[in-house]
Amino acid sequence: MRKKPWLGPLVALVATWLLFAGLAPDTFVRASNAVTMLRQTTVVAICAVGMTLVIVSGGIDLSVGSVVAFTTVVIATTLRAGASPAVAVLAGVAAATASGLLSGVLVGRLRMAPFIVTLGTMSVLRGAAKGLASEQKIDCDPRGLDALLAPPHGWQLLPPGVWLAIAAGVLASLALRTTRFGRHVYAVGSNEAAARVCGVDVVRVKLAVYGLAGALAGMAGVMEFSTLTVGDPTDSVGLELEVIAAVVVGGASLSGGEGTVLGSLVGALLMEVIRAGCTHVGVHNWVQEILTGGIIVAAVAMDRVRRR
């Protein structure tokens, strides 16, 4: 692993924040705005933690947007059927994990290309979500789940959902850096054949990676439900690209073997700071989009140049 690959993105994050703080000193620097930005990154951030595992292992997961939408539908349906919020959350996360494990089996056991497999699951889950919801939003009483990402009460500092995202990030980061599993994820992404001859159970590593990514996408789905308070089968279209962008901006390599959870979280925050900052300064939406695209390309280009 390269030393501190998240350092570059972190510098970029601070610089961008300072830039907008200078442009809109009255509104942008408020603590309430910082909390709002964190709340709005939570879904992308939790997905990015899972995506980091997948991308470091040399794969890709295009299905996260569909998984998130599917999870909101599952939760809403379960709640409407009269189940408790805990059961609904468990059902949602379990469904998401199952879809991740399915991808893992196809990628690991059958050695199929992750791009194709998850392109398939992306479409399948989107369809399943629409079918389950009869192509409509499912209204229901959120029964407290909406509090997960609501503005925090005084002693909380941050909403529970943001704390959850931070916890997921810390755990995943620890797992990648200090456990045998983490080492094997990097090894598989760096040189799969080498990992195999060294006795790494490549199939199991991939199964675990996609399963965890599914579970995390399910958690992100819970957060999404918390803000939507309905089950929406058409929600989060294109979310996967935002997530992949965050991970790549955070220093991961799409060819595997490189990337850190911290970097990906910083990447996700950076994108949100740019989005929120542009809104505060009053930049048009289309300029924002061009800016975001430019930053993704520039981040990777800088990484290339630095490694010369």
Partner: protein, 499 residues
């Protein structure tokens, strides 16, 4: 005789219609260094992979210390104290040295890697493989030289014993010295003998018969996937071993030299320097000659070829191809009639997932940038026949060929392109004796037809046999080219080490 450490009886394995092992038997005692020799495609690599748990045999029995043994996965083999150093380096370039050495055998508690123990195991392995030569356990493996990477692999194999509870029962080395220079190779030999003294049985696969006769006590010869000979190294001459490998006695290790005369200069460099290597290279290459470049691994020979071919930047000096002066891109070089064959066949030289025909014609397609399938096919058939490439046909994937045949495909591409200047980097590395001789004769024939060959090789007998002049590179500086008649192995080696 006591119970053999390793015994194989009639082991067989096929891949599709290709028979890789057609009945291999082998026996090695504890603490024995046992050489496995044979031509390319003789089945050595498959056999080693069977023992390392990478490939599962179809028939036959394997006994380890008298007990029937069939590892289904590499982890099983390593847990039983069987380690392998692979010919194509099996390392993770993004991980550091320590993580690579410990890969697959990390000591853990509740899934967490135990840093202290890992460090000790790795340190021990590194110390044995690298000796006093310094190595940073936290350096990224992708940034190490090829020789250092080879040593990291050896360190990993040595460290395997820790996972097996202390005893390394069997160590398999597949062409371990092909990318090592003399001092590193010497240390490896010492390590092998040390391990043997401690009771480890070493299976040593090599094309270098001098090495075999130095460190092995017994040998097994494979030909076409079957055992054809077993013997004591001490009582068998190198010629006899070669005869068993090839199945005939007259394998010309002495390459016949074709008559040729040097013509005008087609490629020259004056005080050529790259980013860090080469430092200073001046030479002239004439039409109709083979100019050999000797030197140690890491002296800058590969970098010289890469700078000439436009793969690495030229920082100082001048390079001239025919009338064209100055650096140029690889595409320009091809257009100027210069071809390059990389030492890294699998990653740089060939698109191994493509067929022989596609690889052959990669540099020279039709006017609109594509080749008619029929023409491509015919061209490939011609070269397969002319160079005696052993394959199932032009459509076979290059990845399925043995090393020597892959190298022939790489050379055939240059020939098909009909280049005038051939830049060849270690073209016979990791190739068996008979194919080496074939390839070496090929350069001579090319020079006789008016081609110019710049040949980088670490195999001095080859240089002495085929080159017209030889220059030695030492720490990035290229010495003067001497007529081959004034060179011998000793003088070249002395110049290479800077004596």
């Amino acid at each position: 005789m006591s119970v053999p450490r390793l015994a194989l009886r009639d082991v067989r394995k096929s891949f599709g219609s290709t028979v890789a092992l057609a009945g291999v038997s082998l026996e090695a005692a504890p603490g024995e260094v046992h050489a496995v020799i044979g031509e390319n495609g003789a089945g050595k690599s498959t056999l080693m992979n069977v023992l390392a748990g990478v490939v599962e045999p179809e028939a036959g029995d394997v006994f380890l210390d008298g007990a029937a043994w069939r590892p289904r996965v590499p982890a099983r083999a390593r847990a039983d104290g069987v380690a392998m150093v692979h010919q194509e380096l099996a390392l993770c370039p993004h991980l550091d040295v320590q993580a690579n050495v410990a890969l697959g055998i990390e000591p853990t508690r509740f899934g967490f890697v135990r840093a202290g123990i890992t460090e000790r195991i790795v340190e021990e392995g590194l110390a044995r493989a690298f000796g006093r030569r310094p190595v940073d356990p936290h350096a990224r493996v992708g940034e190490l030289s090829v020789a250092d990477r080879q040593l990291v692999e050896i360190a990993r194999a040595v460290a395997t014993s820790r996972a097996a509870g202390g005893a390394l029962r069997l160590l398999i080395l597949d062409e371990p010295t092909s990318s090592l220079d003399a001092p590193d190779a010497e240390r490896l030999f010492a390590l092998v003998l040390d391990l043997a003294r401690e009771g480890t049985t070493v299976l040593y696969v090599s094309h270098f018969l001098q090495e075999v006769s130095r460190i092995a006590t017994r040998f097994t010869v494979l030909r076409d996937g079957a055992t054809v000979g077993i013997g004591d190294v001490a009582s068998t001459s190198a010629d006899e071993m070669v005869a068993m490998m090839a199945g005939r006695t007259d394998v010309a290790r002495a390459v016949s030299r074709s008559p040729r005369t040097a013509g005008e200069v087609v490629l020259s460099a004056r005080a050529l320097g790259g980013v860090s290597l080469p430092v200073d290279a001046t030479f002239e290459l004439h039409r109709g000659e083979v100019l050999g470049i000797a030197g140690l691994v890491g002296a800058g020979r590969t970098e010289l070829l890469r700078a000439i071919f436009g793969l690495d930047p030229v920082r100082r000096g001048e390079v001239r191809v025919g009338m064209a002066v100055g650096p140029a891109s690889p595409a320009r070089r091809w257009a100027q009639g210069v071809g390059f064959a990389s030492e890294d066949r699998r990653r740089e030289g060939l698109a191994t997932e493509l067929s022989i025909a596609e690889n052959l014609t990669l540099s020279k397609l039709g006017p609109s940038g594509h080749g008619l399938p029929r023409r491509v096919h015919d061209a490939a058939s011609t070269w397969i026949e002319r160079l005696a490439i052993r394959c199932s046909g032009p459509d076979q994937r290059v990845a399925e060929l043995s090393g020597g045949n892959q190298q022939k495909v790489q050379l055939a591409r240059l020939l098909h392109h009909d280049v005038d200047v051939l830049l060849l980097d270690e073209p016979t590395r990791g190739i068996d004796v008979a194919t080496k001789a074939q390839i070496a004769e090929l350069y001579g024939a090319l020079a006789a037809r008016g081609k110019a060959v710049l040949l980088v090789s670490s195999w001095l007998p080859e240089l002495l046999a085929v080159a017209d002049r030889i220059a030695v590179m030492h720490r990035g500086r290229l010495g003067p080219a001497m007529p081959v008649a004034e060179c011998d192995e000793r003088s070249l080696l002395l110049e290479a080490v800077g004596g």
